[in-house]
Symmetry: C2
Subunit: 436 residues, 2 copies
């Protein structure tokens, strides 16, 4: 641009695009000061150019012609805020081919097409920044890529889906069931009308694929990450977990082990009094253990227009300063010849486990269960069985909650399978891993 | 160096210097991969070249000739790991004058001589990096300077002194007094033989001066920061705070207000269930509120050889990649013409307060206290007074704990002054702010 300004093409004026437009147009002096020169939106790609826009987006020139916007000579930087894989993938590749740097917050795009997009960016000598793709405003990409650069990362445990965390927090705090908590989350805008990809763990798996790339240089296909959603966690188990001193969180985890990289997305028990336990409502947090630094945690709002705009505009500043190009080259992410790490087989994952059986209230049942566990060298750390009360008829079903010591997942699964076939046990039993 | 390696002069082989030497010599391949070329220690400045060194430091060439080491043409980067203000200040200025970039973890040096050192580095076109100076391995300098660059920072609340946090955690958990907890911290190496600068809040004030510079561009003299140490917090108040649902932490705080920048270091009540409350033992955490991102928190080990080496070697990588130079120029910290922000007068600081009075157990006392508070529009949120028991003689002293609603510090101080002069009250009353 004439005054040395950096020109931005904004692809998409949805939640994130509007947040970015708002910040760039409301705080031009601040952004210019931080970026070393003015940053201006040249235009925004929309589907319907005639649709009325909110107060900040209305001053932005809109177009439906993606190619013309991307190739506009005033544009040096393309911000992809479309979400999903297409047309985001095609347009990002076009932007790179046109010699533009790219900023994106699109986790699905990176998780599914990281190798292709990063390869093209490298080949063409462009920079690509993606702080907003994991945990919204939390600068975790910076932390893993720059701040902790002296470390070999040992493990990552992350609460990266605000919808799930909001629902689990409501269920725990208010004692309501999953369906009611989901409805509340939808009413407040913390869950989509169709929440499938959030509650079944897909969104968290996308983010975990990116974290695994950053932390371990591992090219992991999202589909290869074992995942369990939160839609199958009964409210009763949140209550029993609480009695044992734990809270249930949907954790996305990556851990370096001798067997390979252990990856999973699952609801797990987190001990009260540890920092992940207090990550409530829509907040996200990523616990990172490095071999030099030890235990660290990064916390903040994981979604929403402005937290994500904080990350995207931070990336814009980084690109304009020329720093993002250095980071991009130094990290060498999603390389063709990178670590093609297959996740370690989930059966090998070692952990303590929380198990709830529904048993007939008869003598000998606990003994039979303890024997099945003991036969696979699974030892019991604690047990909860409440008195069913005098009113309950003899033999009526009662819950039995057991916390095990560390055991191998395959052994626990086999023991549960055997126990569920006992005629004094009402299957299925509930089993959740425990975060230590 | 001949093979394109970056040569490092290490000033000091104490705790931090040895940690840095250990990481650079034990993981040369990792550091070379991350920095884009090998990083080698040319030599280390020590006071006594004949003294035997530990396993990692023993391979490092030592010297007592600072100038010769700094001016060695193989050295491109000087790591200052001496601590304290002199000779650190002189040697850093010599390094800059010799055309070398500088990495330091020295909070006292930056807090006391930031304007001079940064001014020289700018004048000479050198870079200076200082991630290790606040909160050890927690990449908070990166977060404030880079990751949150799109934000105006609204407030910072930080647990940045591991010694104090260890002592307060022990007192809370084990119910022991200050002296016993300090002795335990000294036995475990979490407190110096002379812990004065830690427990009186000086160390936290140094770090707060750096955080205020990063977050608010404010040139604050450490001496102008009001501070209260932890050595005057009775164990009883940790117990009462617990009954009210709070834990006491030494907080270093900076907050943008209409009256100016509010700065203080003081023990404060932090509510259970919020992330700062679970920062235990030697850990550090910094809560940062930005106008775009909202609430964020950064957590990790705040001291020790390896966590600090994580930060220092991260800075070395950043300098070698050329990224630190960009950040250094972009941030423009400690400018002569920077914000010469005087802290807001502490009397104007508004907060809720925890107050404990020791009163005679007689009718009318609570009423007199409530009246003195009410006269200054300080309203009471909750009260704890335990039954002294039938064995206590009438009129014997009992504690009365009050939690106020938000009030101005000057009003609370005046009310306490008046109440302490009542003949049914045993002065001095204890007063602690509450973090919300």
């Amino acid at each position: 641009m004439n005054d040395g300004a950096a020109g931005v093409a904004l692809l998409g004026l949805g939640t994130i695009g509007t947040g970015v437009a708002r910040l760039l147009t409301a705080e031009p002096a601040r952004i210019a000061r931080r970026a070393g020169r003015p940053v201006r939106i040249v235009g925004a790609l929309v589907r319907d150019a005639g649709r009325p826009r909110g107060p900040f987006a209305q001053d932005v020139a809109v177009t439906t012609d993606a190619r013309r916007l991307i190739e506009d000579e005033r544009v040096s930087l393309v911000v992809e805020a479309l979400g999903g894989t297409e047309p985001a993938r095609t347009l990002v590749l076009e932007a790179l081919a046109a010699g533009k740097d790219v900023v994106t917050a699109n986790k699905a795009l990176l998780a599914e097409h990281g190798v292709e997009i990063f390869g093209e960016a490298r080949r063409l000598g462009r920079a690509l920044a993606f702080e907003g793709s994991v945990a919204g405003g939390v600068p975790i990409v910076q932390a893993l890529g720059v701040g902790l650069a002296a470390n070999e990362i040992l493990s990552i445990s992350a609460i990266v889906n605000g919808t799930c965390n909001f629902i689990l927090t409501s269920m725990t705090r208010d004692g309501v069931g999953y369906a009611d908590a989901l409805a509340e989350a939808q009413r407040l805008g913390y869950a989509e009308p169709d929440p499938t990809f959030d509650v079944d763990g897909t969104d968290a798996a996308h983010k975990l694929a990116i974290l695994a790339q950053l932390g371990f240089g591992a090219n992991v296909a999202t589909s290869s990450i074992p995942r369990t959603g939160i839609d199958r966690v009964p409210a009763a188990d949140l209550r029993y977990a609480g009695e044992l001193g734990y809270v249930v969180k949907l954790l996305a985890q990556a851990k370096r082990t001798e067997a390979g990289l252990e990856l999973q997305v699952a609801p797990r028990l987190v001990r009260h009094g540890t920092p992940l336990a207090d990550v409530s409502g829509p907040y996200n947090a990523i616990r990172v253990v490095g071999d030099v630094v030890g235990d660290t945690l990064f916390y903040g709002r994981g979604a929403g227009a402005m937290p994500t705009a904080s990350a995207v505009v931070g990336d814009i500043i980084d690109v304009v300063l020329g720093r993002a190009a250095i980071t991009f080259r130094a990290l060498g992410l999603w390389r063709e010849d990178g670590v093609r790490s297959m996740p370690a087989p989930p059966a090998a994952i070692k952990s303590r486990y929380y198990v709830r059986f529904t048993i007939a209230d008869r003598p000998g049942v606990i003994g039979a269960i303890a024997q099945a566990l003991g036969a696979r060298r699974i030892s019991i750390a604690s047990v909860i069985q409440h008195d069913p009360g005098d009113d309950a008829p003899p033999g009526s079903p009662v819950p039995l909650v057991i916390m095990t010591h560390a055991a191998v997942q395959a052994d626990v699964a086999a023991a549960l399978d055997e126990i569920d076939r006992l005629d004094v046990v009402h299957p299925p039993s509930i089993c959740l891993g425990v975060e230590d």
